[in-house]
Each structure stands twice: as C-alpha cells, then as structure tokens.
Amino acid sequence: MESLGIIAGFWILSGVTVGASLAVFAVRNLLHAVVFLILAFVGMAGLFITLSADFLAVAQLLIYAGAISVLLVFAVMLTPMANRDNANSLYMLPGGAFALAFATIVAFVAIEVDWSQLRGDALNGRNFSTTVGDVGQALLGPHVLAFEIASVLLLAALVGAIVLVHEDERAPEDRGEAA
C-alpha cells in the first residue's frame, strides 16, 4: 500500500466521501442531499478500488449509485407535499453528540490498536488479475445457501414493495377495512 497512486487516491477519495456525507447532513434541499449521497457512494466505490475490490466497486456503483439513489429520487418525487428542506428534528443535538462520541471512540480504537500484524499478505501472495472469479466461486461454493436465501429475500422485497404501493381501486368498505 505504498504506491503513490494508492496514497493519493485514498486521501482524495476519502476526502470526497466524508465531505459529501457531511454535505448530505448540511444541505437544505432534499434533492441536493440525494445528489451528495450519490457522490459519497461514488467516492466509496473508489475507496473499494484502492483496496483491490474491483467487483465490489462496480457492484457498489450499479446498486448504490445507480439503483438505490434512483429509488430515493423516486420517493422524494412521489411525496410532493412533504417538507423538502432536509430539516433536523429536536433530536439533532443528542443525535449529533452520540455520532461525535461514536466517531471518537472508533477513531481512538483504530489508532491505538496495533494493526502492524495485518499487512495484507493473504491477497499480496495471490496475484489476482481480478477478484470477480474468486467472488463468484465463493458465492456458488461455500456460500451457496446464503446466496439462494438472498435471492428469495430479493423476490420477497420486490413483491412486498409492489403490494405496498399498489393502489386498490375498490372503495374502502369493499376492502373490508375502516375508512
């Protein structure tokens, strides 16, 4: 991890990611917040690349920066009368204090613990050209049960989302529920 490219990439991308995440908190327009969230996702994908996780970086771009952000924009657009000023509630002070304490503890532990034993020899010795094949082998080999359960989960979420937002044309009385 000593090459100049990785060092420069890490500092730039982590700056972009953290700055964009802070902007999600700070901007006063929900759609601008979504845009900064996409920027944070893209920066995170770049950090994955500096960690030699090429498949995950592309998956991150497709799923987070592509799909989930479009879902978020849809949700904002489908709630036109709701507040879009990205306002904070009364819990902002305790929430912010808790977040600050959490960041302090994590940073303290990360800096104090001696990680020098972990030098990445497991991946350094492998000489991957890409991780895609190995991730695929692992997904369909030792982790195939979790893989299948995940596909069932996705199907359930898909059907559930459709059922939830499906507009029932019948009158409330016919649906057997109180109006």
Binding site: I6, F25, I68, A157
Partner: protein, 120 residues
C-alpha cells in the same frame, strides 16, 4: 523495503494502512448515525441508514485487503459478506421507500415528528 533508495521515501510516512480506512469508515458511519437520528424527513433518515451500511462495507473490504489469512477458501469471505450486505440494503431500500410512499398517501406527510400513529 529500502527507504533511503526509494524515490518516494518522503511520502512513506503517508503510507496508507488499515487504520486509515477504519477511521474513514468510522467517520462516515457516525455521519450516517447523525443523519438517521436527527433528520425529520423519513427519506432523509433512510439516506443516513444507507451511509451506515456503506461504511460497514468499507470496513469489511479493508479487513479483507489487509488480512494475513492464507487459507485459500476464505480469503475473499469479506467480499462475499459485502455482496450480501448490498443485497439486503437494496431490499431494505425498496421496502422502506414503498412504506414511505404508502404513509405519505394516507397522511400527506413523511415527517417523522408528525407520524405518531403508534403512540400510546
């Protein structure tokens, strides 16, 4: 490695290690907590949750990258876990946003301060 002969010896102190990634991940997770706890709009809260999931993914990938584990079968186990986190995050976002739209349809708001249906 021989620092004296390296042309990049001056930047060696900046060498990126595991703790750099853990600090970035912790900071992004904390920002996600702050957003999820303090935003009024339900969709903004979801954005905070997505940031938290992303920060955890970064931790998984960083530990995988710096792992010393020479066992061939599990060297990319962290990557596999991240794939499952991505799957669950996508499912969670779809269902949660559908619920937000549904709540909006009934109550004309997604303001969490005003959604007190479950208050006793």
């Amino acid at each position: 490695m021989n620092l004296a002969s390296s042309p990049l010896a001056t930047i060696d102190g900046l060498s990126v290690t595991l703790e750099h990634y853990l600090v970035v991940s912790g900071v992004v997770f904390a920002i996600g907590i702050a957003i999820a706890l303090s935003k009024r709009n339900a969709i903004a809260v979801l954005m905070g949750v997505e940031l938290m999931l992303n920060a955890v993914n970064l931790t998984f990938v960083a530990f995988t990258r710096f792992s010393q584990n020479a066992d061939n079968a599990s060297v990319l186990a962290g990557h596999v876990f991240v794939v499952f986190v991505l799957t669950v995050a996508a499912a969670e976002a779809a269902v949660a946003l559908a619920m937000a739209v549904l709540v909006y349809r009934r109550r004309e708001t997604v303001d969490l301060d005003r959604l007190n249906l479950l208050r006793w």
